[in-house]
């Protein structure tokens, strides 16, 4: 009941005209960001963060705007998956498998409506899951000391590297690069500079927003130029929208199951929405009795990944808000937003700033209904967007990224650093090295080192302290298993890329 009272308080925060307007604006922007190929939730949110500061929004408002964008992007990603066979963002990859065949069979609008409804179910259930699970986890999080936090950070890197990449060594390299970059600047406990080489710009450390925008937005431009811009603007014919009641009824159970699978995948630190949609699809294919149509336009194959990735998006917010450990790339960016707004996520957030947490949750519930309206009856508007050619879209995105970073500090140094990250990201992408662990490393590096050092202060230098409690030992075991286990099941569970062809 306490939860309901808090939720009511949250609605009191969310139901003001300004917040509602921000939530709706976020939903629209998010759907656009998700629908446009090459502009995913991570880089979409990353580009918008610097701009949201210039609005002068307070913490709650900025967080609600960005989280609505995040939810919206998860909805929007399916549009180009279904119509163009190009995933609008990475989590929507699995939707192409059955969505595009459905569209080719002349049922594009059925697929869009069905997937919109599935997204809604997934996101709604995940938000409810968030309401139930987050306070519980926040209470458990009080038991976490520095040793537990250190193990938890390790777990996040291990699961991210183990499950979300094809090569553990490369994922670990990415994580170390991020952690190494995080060390640049003044040392937290001694106040002495590290790795600054006498450069004044480096004294403050490297701003993670610069790294994020560079690694995602600028890299995308280089990738596009290299691949000679496959012009995605294809004339898509949409028949009249109607509600495919039969398909929705038939896939109702699918949506429920996939939401649960997706939510669990989302809650695991470091795993994220792509894994959620992948697991949802694979599980569903294994469970249903007649799966012969999967891969050639089975409506349940459209519903499963969409419910899964939206549920994972909500689930990923749980560890981000309660423990300060993001569950995916985009929540890592949202964490960056929180840190920049001077909000420390974690158990104390639920006690000290309940209006932020519950306002956000209430706004997400509202955003879900807004997104359902935007993505089912009004989906045609967003389909029009797919006709924006990349030659306009990409320079536009680049310029927005530049102005955003420029408005943060007004220094050319940050812009040059951003380009450097763009170049780095391009080569890493070519080499199949994931870039999300870099972001996570830059974000969490300082905290991770601090928790290690605090733990060692407590134990006056005894390393065994790191494994002394039940929770920390459990997290260490989970981290090792999460990193190593995927090596053995890799042959059983092929990555999504392999399934596509």
């Amino acid at each position: 009941m306490e939860t309901l009272a808090l939720l009511a308080q949250g609605f009191a925060v969310a139901l003001t005209p300004k917040i509602l307007m921000l939530a709706v604006a976020g939903c629209i922007i998010g759907t656009v960001v998700g629908a446009l190929p090459g502009l995913g939730p991570t880089n979409g949110v990353a580009i918008l963060i610097p701009l949201s500061f210039s609005f002068g929004l307070n913490a709650t408002e900025a967080l609600i705007l960005m989280t609505s964008v995040y939810y919206g992007a998860m909805y929007g990603g399916r549009i180009s998956s279904i119509l163009l066979n190009i995933p609008g963002d990475e989590p929507a990859l699995m939707t192409t498998l059955d969505g595009y065949p459905m569209a080719k069979a002349g049922r594009a609008s059925d697929a869009l409506v069905l997937s919109g409804v599935a997204s809604f179910v997934g996101a709604l259930l995940a938000t409810i899951g968030l309401i139930i699970l987050a306070p519980v986890l926040a209470r458990i999080a009080f038991l976490f000391g520095p040793a537990e936090y250190f193990a938890l950070y390790l777990l996040a890197f291990a699961t991210l590297g183990g499950m979300a990449s094809n090569n553990q060594a490369k994922a670990a390299i990415a994580a170390c690069l991020g952690l190494g970059i995080a060390m640049i600047g003044l040392d937290n406990s001694t106040g002495l500079p590290r790795f600054t080489y006498g450069n004044l710009h480096l004294m403050d450390g490297i701003d993670f927003l610069v790294a994020i925008v560079g690694l995602f937005a600028v890299t995308e431009v280089f990738v596009f130029i290299e691949s000679h811009g496959r012009d995605s603007a294809i004339g898509v014919k949409l028949e009249k929208l109607r509600i495919p009641v039969r398909d929705i009824m038939r896939s109702a159970m699918t949506m429920l199951r996939s939401s649960v699978v997706g939510f669990i995948a989302g809650v695991l630190p470091g795993a994220g929405a792509s894994l959620g949609s992948f697991l949802a699809y694979v599980t569903e294919k294994g469970i249903v009795r007649d799966n012969s149509q999967f891969g050639s336009g089975d409506p349940r194959g459209v519903a499963a990944p969409e419910a899964g990735n939206n549920a994972a998006a909500g689930g990923a917010l749980v560890p981000m808000l309660t423990l300060g450990v993001p569950g995916s790339g985009t929540t890592a960016v949202l964490l960056a937003l929180l840190v920049t707004l001077n909000i420390t996520p974690g158990p104390l957030l639920f006690q000290e700033r309940p209006e932020v947490v519950w306002g956000l949750i209430a706004a997400l519930l509202i955003a879900n209904f807004v997104l359902l309206i935007l993505n089912v009856p009004m989906v045609k508007l967003f389909v029009l967007l797919l006709s924006v050619p990349p030659r306009v879209l990409l320079p536009g995105v680049t310029m927005i990224a530049f102005v955003g970073i420029f408005s943060l500090s007004g220094s050319s140094f940050d812009l040059v650093l951003m380009i450097a990250f763009g170049v780095l990201g391009f080569f890493l992408r070519k080499l199949d090295v994931p870039t999300v662990p870099i972001i996570l490393g830059i974000l969490l590096g300082g905290e991770m080192e601090d928790s290690l050092r605090r733990a060692m202060v407590i134990s006056s230098g005894d390393w065994r302290f790191l494994f002394s409690s039940g929770i920390s030992t459990g997290l260490w075991i989970a981290a090792v298993v999460g990193f190593i286990a995927p090596m053995f099941v890799r042959n059983l569970l092929k990555k999504p890329q392999a399934i596509t062809d």
Binding site: L179, S189, F195, F222, V392, R453
Partner: protein, 144 residues
């Protein structure tokens, strides 16, 4: 095959350089048991080991970067943009940079010109009047 070996070796070199500069970190007399050097050492060590693993057990795939010239040009254009945005104001550098990037994605002159001018003016109006950013439209020298 080869590209991963080179990448692995570069990572090893970077890791060693990182460890080397970590040894230069000044330690305060107030230092805690771990000190400011240990964590960077650990990171560098893991990085070096992983670099070796990649170099010794590379992925099959050979990476090829096509059109290096175009990429280099794009980089130069963006760098130029980074340095001219402040002294020359928003409109001119944005038009030039977005026009060139647009031309690189789809090499037709007229659409690229239109994209450059359109984005420059459109984004300026958006940033200045809708979002209220303090941007300068024209070179500062002209304004003073």
């Amino acid at each position: 095959m080869k590209s991963d070996r080179i990448f692995g070796l570069i990572i090893v070199v970077v890791a060693l350089a990182y460890i080397a500069s970590a040894t230069q970190i000044q330690t305060s007399f107030l230092a805690d048991p771990v000190g400011p050097k240990t964590f960077p050492f650990l990171v560098g060590l893991v990085l070096a080991v992983c670099g070796l693993v990649v170099a010794l057990r590379p992925d099959e795939e050979q990476v090829r970067v096509r059109s290096i010239g175009k990429l280099a040009l794009a980089m130069v254009v963006l760098l130029g943009y980074a340095y001219t945005l402040r002294p020359l104001g928003f409109l001119i550098p944005t038009a030039v940079a977005s026009g060139i990037v647009s031309y690189q994605i789809s090499p037709r002159v007229t659409p690229a010109l239109l994209t450059g001018v359109g984005l420059s003016v459109g984004l300026f109006l958006l940033f200045k009047f809708v979002l209220g950013l303090g941007l300068f439209a024209l070179p500062r020298a002209l304004l003073s």
